[in-house]
């Protein structure tokens, strides 16, 4: 039974991590229908930014964390301004291909600067964060993931539901010409969604870095895991991304724990195919509202 709980907790925290990563992906897709293939690389960039600031520049951890997030936020703006804006009005597939190009470029740059080795952060999480529950142990990193994840999911939920800027962003996703006619600054909304997405990516990248250490290849591979998560949850649903993340996380750890560790990486994709056959829009995908 303890084994079960341990796996459950590991699965939930892994799932939370996926959910957080998927959030950034959904954000971009929702506002501009672009599939961002550079997602994993953005995560890695955020993780390395934190590494540079905390381990190399030796800044206080909290300052390094916020600077890394702020840096990624600006990077999102820059990407939109210099790479995506010239493509406004072009076919969607060209924009998607551009993100593939960005992914390769970022990966190359990171390999050039940091090499392919594993780097790790200095220990900074207090021992007190580790929870014990009989023989079940929840590592401090997972507790921190939970807290940070909950806070940010709450913040984003609030931002999109109640703030004016969030409502403008949703209006663009909903009906772009109508938003334009009301004076919503569509390009600014796109820039904003890239910036927020890069920020969320950085956050999940940092958490992965704390758990596994940072390596360009590994972090960007986890970025790919976002695809089964978002397709399972529905490409344009934030709630779906969270639930999809939790489901994939649990599936992975339970398969790893009870069936075989080799199957662990494959199961999400098998489930993905089954879900797509039964519910092609994903669990919470937008079903067109149609009044007859």
């Amino acid at each position: 039974m303890e084994f079960f709980f341990q796996i459950l907790i590991n699965g939930l925290s892994l799932g939370f991590l996926y959910a957080l990563a998927a959030l950034g992906f959904v954000m971009i897709f929702k506002s501009s229908s672009v599939l961002n293939f550079a997602h994993g690389e953005l995560m890695a960039i955020g993780a390395f930014l934190f590494l540079v600031l905390s381990a190399w520049a030796k800044l206080p951890i909290w300052l390094a964390f916020f600077l890394a997030l702020a840096g990624s936020f600006s990077l999102g703006f820059i990407i939109e301004r210099f790479f995506l804006r010239p493509l406004i009005g072009e076919a969607l597939i060209e924009v998607i291909m551009l993100t593939v190009g960005l992914a390769i470029m970022f990966k190359g740059l990171m390999l050039f600067v940091f090499g392919g080795d594993i780097h790790s952060y200095p220990e900074f999480l207090p021992q007190a964060l580790t929870l014990h529950w009989g023989a079940v142990e929840v590592p401090g990193v997972n507790v921190a993931t939970f807290i940070v994840g909950l806070v940010f999911l709450g913040l984003f939920g609030f931002f999109f539901k109640y703030s004016s800027q969030g409502i403008y962003m949703r209006s663009v996703a909903d009906n772009q010409p109508a938003a334009m006619a009301l004076g919503v600054h569509v390009r600014r909304v796109f820039a904003m969604s890239w910036a927020i997405a890069a920020l969320v990516c950085a956050m999940s990248g940092i958490v992965i870095g704390i758990i596994n250490g940072i390596n360009v290849h590994e972090v960007s591979a986890i970025g790919l895991k976002v695809f089964p998560v978002v397709i399972l949850g529905g490409l344009d649903s934030i709630g779906g991304a969270i639930l999809g993340g939790l489901i994939i996380g649990l599936l992975e750890t339970f398969t790893g724990g009870y069936i075989s560790t080799g199957l662990r990486e494959v199961v999400p994709y098998i489930v993905l195919i089954i879900i797509l056959m039964i519910k092609p829009y994903g669990l919470f995908g937008l079903v067109e509202i149609e009044r007859v």
Binding site: G89, S164, Q165, I167, Y168, R170, S171, D174, N175, P177, A178, A179, M180, A181, L182, G183, V184, H185, V186, L286, I289, R291
Partner: protein
């Protein structure tokens, strides 16, 4: 330019995709605090005229190639919509374009995009005052509202922006006659109480001319007739082509129409 002219279109031509010419030398004036109706058959260029004012031509690959559009000293031809809307010109697009997945109140809040960060509670009250049926629906998704509610919603959304010039594209489209009457009464009230200048594109010529001060008739991308709304409604040609009434005042039957005698062109 006369002082009370808010918008002046001088001789504009509009071309889509560099080859398809829709408007040919269109000129018109919109006076302050008036309602101006733009009538014409389908494809006459009415919607294009509105879009050339509001800047919405650009996303459709259209362009004003000649002429100017003057709005209070600004030259706004080919300006981006985010600039034009901030000058106080808001277009309500044809066919009711709600944000389906936003609630009614959220839809209205998008109308504040031109003055982000300023208080909007008063405007919300004003919109609910004009469009009372929206109050009951304020927390439901716009996608599930009826056609009449949606028309009120998109007009209310535009009012939230505190427009000085409101461009309405076929507000009566697909609505029941009684509802059309109600919508037009509200339009008139907004014009009188808020002093908002309105430009109204309509197929329902009778209704449009009744509330308008001035009217233009378009055909094939040109303005073929203009005059005070009172005069237009009495004009025999307008009567025959748009109001379906013969010059004698009786309703025309197709039996009596001698097709070779029908006027095919204006002027």
């Amino acid at each position: 330019m006369e002082n009370n002219v808010l918008l002046q279109i001088n001789n504009i031509s509009v071309v889509y995709s560099d080859v398809i010419q829709i408007l040919k030398a269109v000129s018109l004036d919109v006076k302050k605090s008036q309602i101006v109706s733009l009538l014409g058959s389908n494809g006459a260029g009415k919607t294009t005229t509105l879009k050339s004012i509001s800047g919405l031509l650009k996303p459709e690959n259209g362009k004003v190639t000649e002429g100017t559009i003057d709005y209070e000293g600004h030259n706004i031809q080919n300006s981006a919509p985010e600039i034009v809307t901030r000058l106080g010109i808001i277009q309500v697009m044809e066919g009711r374009q709600p944000f389906k997945y936003l609630t009614v109140e959220e839809n209205l809040r998008v109308g504040t995009a031109t003055r982000w960060g300023k208080p909007y509670k008063k405007d919300l009250e004003l919109v609910y005052h004009y469009f009372a049926p929206l109050v009951a629906r304020k927390n439901s998704l716009a996608g599930y509202c009826s056609g009449g509610e949606l028309q009120m919603l998109v007009m209310g959304r535009a009012l939230m922006a505190q427009p000085r010039l409101l461009l309405l594209d076929e507000p009566s489209l697909g609505l029941a006659p009684l509802l059309v009457k109600e919508i037009f009464e509200i339009i008139k009230r907004v014009n009188q109480e808020q002093g908002t200048t309105l430009m109204l594109v309509e197929q329902n010529a009778n209704m449009a001319l009744q509330i308008a001060d001035f009217g233009y008739v378009m055909e094939n991308g040109k303005i073929v007739l203009e005059g005070d709304a009172k005069d237009l409604i009495e004009n025999p040609d307008v009567k025959e082509f748009y109001l379906g009434v013969a010059a004698t005042g009786t309703i025309k039957t197709y039996k009596d129409v001698k097709s070779y005698k029908r006027r095919k062109r204006w002027l």
